[in-house]
Amino acid sequence: MTALLEVRGLDVRFAGAAASVVKDVSFDVQPGECIGIVGESGSGKSVTARAVLGLASRTATVRAETLRFDGTDLQAASPRLLRQLRGKEIGFVSQGALVALDPLRTVGREIGDALRLHTDLSPTERRARVLELLAEVGVPEPRVRADQRADQLSGGLRQRAIIASAIALRPRLLIADEPTTALDSTVQAGILDLLESLRAQGTALVLISHDLAVVSRLASTVLVMRGGTVVESGNTARVLGDPQHDYTRQLIAAVPTDRPRGTRLGAAPRPAALSPGAPTAAASSGNSGVMPATIAFEAETPVRPSLTPEFAKDAPFDGATTPAETTDATADVVLEASGLVRRFGSRTAVDDVGFVLRRGRTLGVVGESGSGKTTVARLVLALERADSGTVRVLGERWSESTERERRRLRPRIGAIYQDALSSFDPRWTVGQIIEDALTRGRSRRAGEDAAHLLDRVGLGPELLGRRPRLLSGGQQQRVAIARAIAPRPDIIVCDEPVSSLDVSVQAQVLDLLDDLQASLGISYLFISHDLGVIRHVSDDVLVMRAGAVVEGGNTESVFLRPSHEYTRALLDSAPRLPARAAAT
């Protein structure tokens, strides 16, 4: 069988860059086949897709030994022919479903464009075809939706509309670049089902994602890319089940899905000094199922195993709160919320939410976008006023106090955010940011300075003079964590702290948070849409939907025996690695 798309020795280099961003990439796509390209940001996966489409940026030089679509040499093709192919034969679903539609045009016109350019259909016929397409991709009430603009549609509907426009001309090949990245897991599941049904009908698919679990659901062949080269490729089950390359193994190990609390995700071992009193969870699961310590992640350079025994001795709650106590249900309550309600206009964002957070424990809050998770975080931090209900911090009045009264307690409850960078004053250096937070702390210890704190979060002192925007995403989040722990808080509210990080960096940050909890006895209120992350970090979990808590309790029992149907739906929708791979 001849391949539909044949790529041999693809090489892409940007003008002025020393090295190629894509080096010697080869793959074939057969009709009706789905191949997946997996890699972290900067691995060259998107550039590869764009180069194939002839959409690489103007400054890029694309070279390949072979670049053929259905026998046509794409390198020799005229721009006109390429345009023809792109519309008719090759569909493209881009990343950023939320911005790929023109906000001033209706969805129907947007999809109709492809038909107008490439077919002779009359406007009435086009309209009929658009409605058919919308129905086909599972948009409810296509007649209504076709006349709406992008901002009137949810993220999932927008992504479906984009897919509808990409398949309008029945392309034989569909290239989807991170088609579900910005979407909730139940929505993501729907989109993946849609792509799968297109594939079953004979459309070849190239699926690009940073998410191994997403790719493993659809692709029969997978390419793992790193630094512009394919480090491993082959049958999906084989690659995930029996990875040959270290990097593939790291990627698989770093996925937190189904990995219970206490397991480490990253390569660095937990420093021995950090587990005084041998916390049960850490000891039992130990390093089993984790990579050998010799494999270091290079994605995140200055990460050093840093927590030396002196630090552990320095810890404020030493002895008083060893992690062993975290299993003790009578441990003191540090944060208590009851009957929280917050309305925005007629919409109830948070509806009667209550919970208790104990010292040294983690309460996970999981839900899809719009479920009110972030509003709960803001209510807890008293950045938002509750319409009713109360929050008590360390047993003291909090939500009903004035800001002036709260200020005394503020240093005891910290926060880290999804977008660490924007939470730093753009004029400040890393050193200033941490120094500033240190001055807010309770009795500052001698010798405790910004460099010391950076060390605790695994960063070197050479970063002190840098500005955060010049750091990598993982480093930025580490600086945010250093700032959060500087005032020696009892509680840290973590709002999607790892959601914008690559999976291996995410693993390191989660491990860091875990270590800090073990050594400092901090309690986390941990908010995430990612079930895998929540399961990995939380002792207890709250499942939120439309502002209300639908289910709560011990994490393992909620995940293993969900009692609410929404929780079950949420769990089912989460893409996961095949069982064998996860156990490796």
């Binding site: 931090l381 950045l383 800001e403 002036r404 709260r406 200020r407 005394r408 307690l409 503020r410 240093p411 409850i413 910290g414 926060a415 955010y417 977008d419 924007s422 939470s423 730093f424 004053d425 753009p426 004029r427 500033d436 937070a437 807010r440 700032r483 005032p487």
Partner: protein
């Protein structure tokens, strides 16, 4: 991060440096007395002895232009300072005060915006009488609403930023947040605004002097010199040309520099 300066920007900086020298030490560039009259050599066209020519009383226009720099620039700077100062107060009130105050100040600014600036300045002078001080204040007042609007939006941008929220979470009070975060982060935009505004203020102050509402002859001020030369413009062009040239030069140089700063601020 700073872009390399283009030739125009280099010229602007050089012009400003020269103007600053003229303002601070006019004697270095023009040792003569700007008010010394010499009736015998009145209305002389530009020559080696009088590069810019002489006026109706035989005063050397070059000397007068150089010595007038101080007054013109000072008026421009002072007016801008008044405008920006007022605007900063307004902007902080609007950005940090209660909502009704923001609403109130914003409406007042919008009403002031409805008047052409110069008209507003004239109105002020009609009430308080002409003179250098009143014309400076008038120019400052009339430019304030424009600045206030921009500063308010900048203050609100910083106030609603995640890093200000992070400061709140750390337990910083309002004053500390304003001093530590808002002012430094608004300062960049403010500096650009001020640089752009000086040129405009110089032009406006000169306009008022030209109308006889600011500095009055025989004071060596560019606007006043323009006014004095107006009568003779048909026969003795240099009397108006050179003071006018300097108004244009100073306004153009400061504006160019402001634009370039603006681009640098945006780029970073």
């Amino acid at each position: 991060m700073v872009r390399r300066l283009g030739p125009l920007e280099v010229a602007a900086v050089a012009t400003i440096a020269l103007l600053a020298l003229a303002a601070l030490a006019p004697g270095v560039l023009a040792p003569g007395d700007p008010l010394a009259i010499d009736p015998l050599s009145s209305f002389e066209s530009p020559s080696f002895a009088h590069p810019f020519g002489t006026d109706e009383s035989g005063r050397d226009i070059y000397t007068r232009v150089v010595h007038g720099t101080g007054a013109s620039l000072l008026i421009g700077l002072a007016a801008t300072a008044i405008g920006i100062g007022l605007a900063l107060a307004f902007g902080l009130l609007a950005g940090f005060g209660p909502r009704w105050l923001d609403f109130g100040t914003t409406r007042v600014i919008e009403v002031l915006f409805a008047f052409p600036g110069l008209l507003f300045a004239l109105l002020f002078i009609v009430v308080y009488g002409p003179g250098v001080v009143t014309s400076t204040i008038a120019v400052g007042l009339s430019t304030a609403p424009g600045y206030a609007r921009i500063i308010r939006s900048q203050v609100i941008r910083v106030r609603t930023s995640p890093y200000l929220e992070a400061a709140t979470v750390l337990g910083r009070g309002r004053t500390a947040r304003i001093v530590r975060h808002v002012l430094p982060n608004v300062a960049g935009a403010l500096f650009v605004l001020a640089t752009l505004g000086i040129g405009q203020s110089i032009v406006w102050a000169s306009s008022l002097s030209y109308l006889g509402l600011g500095a009055v002859p025989p004071a060596a001020e560019w606007g006043a010199m323009l006014s004095a030369g107006r009568t003779y413009i048909a026969s003795f062009w240099w009397m108006t040309f050179f003071p006018g040239l300097f108004i244009v030069l100073s306004a153009a140089a400061t504006t160019l520099l402001g634009r370039s700063l603006q681009q640098n601020v945006r780029a970073s």
